[in-house]
């Protein structure tokens, strides 16, 4: 017993023996894709493999964690000055800006990326003070997925084009024991994005939340109240799953995939629903997407798209091989769109060519973005401080839990914006 104890202690204190360095250089990467065998994680692994082959003597070591732990760790690394050479990060305005200001991120050479097919405005979102700080990896926009078969079974022959039509289909689905629509209520951001969408639909003018954050207008203005009322009405009408506010992303997605819900309110990154083997063949053949409906008397059109560029890959300023890191990014930018589209894993921030093997839902996604007349840019909750995001999410939760009225909601939002503006 004593001997085993001693052995265990000794083992514990032994430093681990790492593979001796035949490699010249090791690139340390960080991202939020722990699953390296499926979808996006698998694509990055493939790209890494190809890069290593093209640059012999390079080793790539990746640290991946889920979102929250990942963000935390990056912040700790930044403070301890031990950031990975390349890492995935989020939008400039709220999260990346402090990193740039703190000198943690290295600027990139914009010219190297200009010819790589980035969609209009993609590179601009990561440009700060005239310099490019990261490459955006995906084009994300807000859309409604639906199950064609469930629509047909409920006797609905066309997708709702207005909110009133959306309300009209609710009883038809409920009569069949089907949830009309699911979304992730627990995390609040989907509902916050929907709020922004409603503001645009009502006002016909984009960028109003940003103006409110810049304090040119106030969140207590009428248009926001109307949007809040519309959002709360969506919840009150029984459109969503009953425990919306504790229902998380996985639950919402699975309910839709199992054919228990007719629609799924989410972003374009879910185009992979059409190829997800964990759902039935019937589901995959019947999933499609349509544009968010218009509001009666609203000035916005159906082609005003809540769209933004998601996720960046950035280079740490303290990396010892900045040149190599930049080469990696160029390589990534060249390979990612093709691989991502081939695997239907994500909608890249670069142009993709439609393929005959594309699923109906993928085709709809491409069609929707092609037909869009205007895009919103980053949603309001990510346009300001992290504190604002938290206040926004809490207020949304209270509004959708019917704990506060739309009028109180906009007051809270405005107070939060005021506080954020002072910083």
């Amino acid at each position: 017993m004593k001997i085993t104890a001693f052995l265990v202690l000794a083992l514990a204190l032994l430093p681990t023996v790492r593979a001796s360095a035949q490699t010249k250089v090791t690139i340390k990467m960080g991202d939020n894709l722990p699953d390296r065998n499926n979808t996006w994680g698998a694509i990055v692994e493939q790209i890494n493999g190809e890069f290593k082959a093209a640059h012999p003597g390079t080793e790539i070591v990746t640290e991946s964690y889920p979102d929250q732990p990942y963000q935390q760790k990056i912040k700790i690394y930044a403070t301890a000055k031990q950031l990975p050479d390349l890492f995935k990060f989020w939008s400039v305005v709220s999260l990346l800006k402090p990193m740039i200001d703190g000198g943690f991120v290295a600027p990139l050479d914009r010219a190297e990326f200009e010819s790589l097919g980035y969609l209009p405005g993609a590179l601009d979102t990561n440009t700060y003070n005239g310099k490019l700080y990261g490459i955006p990896v995906s084009m994300d926009f807000w859309v409604i997925y639906y199950n064609k078969k469930l629509f047909k079974d409920a006797g609905i022959d066309h997708v709702p084009a207005t909110l009133d039509e959306l309300y009209a289909v609710i009883p038809k689905f409920k009569a069949k024991g089907i949830i009309p629509m699911t979304t992730d209520g627990k995390d609040a951001w989907p509902l916050s994005i929907t709020f922004d969408q409603l503001v645009w639909r009502i006002a016909g003018e984009k960028g109003l939340p940003r103006q409110a954050l810049d304090r040119k207008i106030k969140f207590t203005d009428q248009v926001f109240v109307q949007a809040a009322r519309a959002l709360q009405q969506l919840v009150k009408s029984g459109l969503f799953q009953e425990d919306l506010m504790v229902s998380d992303y996985d639950a919402a997605r699975n309910l839709f995939g199992q054919g228990k819900a007719a629609m799924f309110l989410m972003g374009s990154w879910e185009l992979g629903l059409g190829t997800d083997k964990s759902f039935s063949d019937e589901f995959r053949a019947n999933v499609d997407a349509f544009k968010f409906p218009v509001v009666k008397d609203g000035k916005g059109t159906v082609d005003d798209l809540m769209a933004w560029y998601g996720g960046n890959y950035v280079v740490s300023a303290s990396s010892k091989n900045i040149a190599l890191d930049k080469q990696y990014l160029v390589f990534y930018a060249k390979r990612f769109p093709e691989l991502a589209w081939e695997k239907q894993a994500a909608l890249p921030a670069q142009a993709v060519k439609a393929r005959p093997s594309d699923t109906p839902v993928a085709r709809s996604i491409l069609r929707i973005i092609a037909e869009s007349k205007a895009t919103s840019g980053t949603p309001a909750l990510d346009l300001s401080t992290p504190r604002f995001k938290d206040d926004n999410e809490n207020a949304i939760r209270e509004l959708c839990s019917e704990l506060i009225t739309p009028e109180v909601f906009v007051k809270k939002l405005d107070a939060a914006a005021e506080k954020a503006a002072k910083k």
Partner: protein
Amino acid sequence: MTDRGTPRATGRRAGLAVLHVGLVLFALMQLFPLLWVFLCSLQKSGDLFGNDLIRVPTDPQWSNYARAWTNGQFVRYGLNSFIVVTASTAVSTVLSFCMGYAIARMRWRGKRLALGAILMGMVVPIHATLLPNFLWYSYFGLIDTRLGLIIPYVAFTLSFNTLVYAGHFRNLPAALEEAALLDGASWPRILWSVVAPLATPATVTVAVMTFLTNWNEFIMANTYLASDDLRTLPFSIIRFQGQYRSDYAAQFACMVLVAVPALALYLYFSKHIMAGATAGAVKE
């Protein structure tokens, strides 16, 4: 406590029956989560989180376990977990045994201060220590090492364990120890041969508590470790999480695999709680 066949006695027997039924029902309720996780682990990812709480899978996906074992790096992470958690449990138990004894039995200068430190140790929230410790450990080169994880694991369980031991010792009559002292035994001898056996219930409690707390621990492992070859078991579960979509079924399979050693350990140790009982009797 008189006659047997009277209504009161039958009432008592009926009451006993009800009690037994109650105990069994309660046992079933406690076993339910394990059953649930196991059944979930045999589903397909897409079938989870749906209507039915329990669904006996018509098509058990044993492949989930295969994936959990290989993609989840079960062997490597399991070994790391085993080393780190066992070491920290052993160290924490021994140290808190000494500290608990010192607090309960001895009187010395600075005792108040030590008690204060122990109290602090119990109430400090883990999250507040992550960043400072990371910077501090970095300085000593402890980041991304096993030792760098063992130290906080010991630190955070030390206070509780000391408290448990101290409470236990306070209740133990000092007669046996005094007898041994009179016999001329040295302190280490006394501690080892006399006190330790008496403390067995407490030791089991402490060891089990420490082991289980650290076996499932994630946030500190996440902060203080970086390399894949050092990661512990909770990481095997996150290997199946993507940014938006995850392999849920494999995650459940992982959870079952992670829970098995912990359960086995508890099964093994729980029989030792009895051992202290007889030793606790002191013949006057």
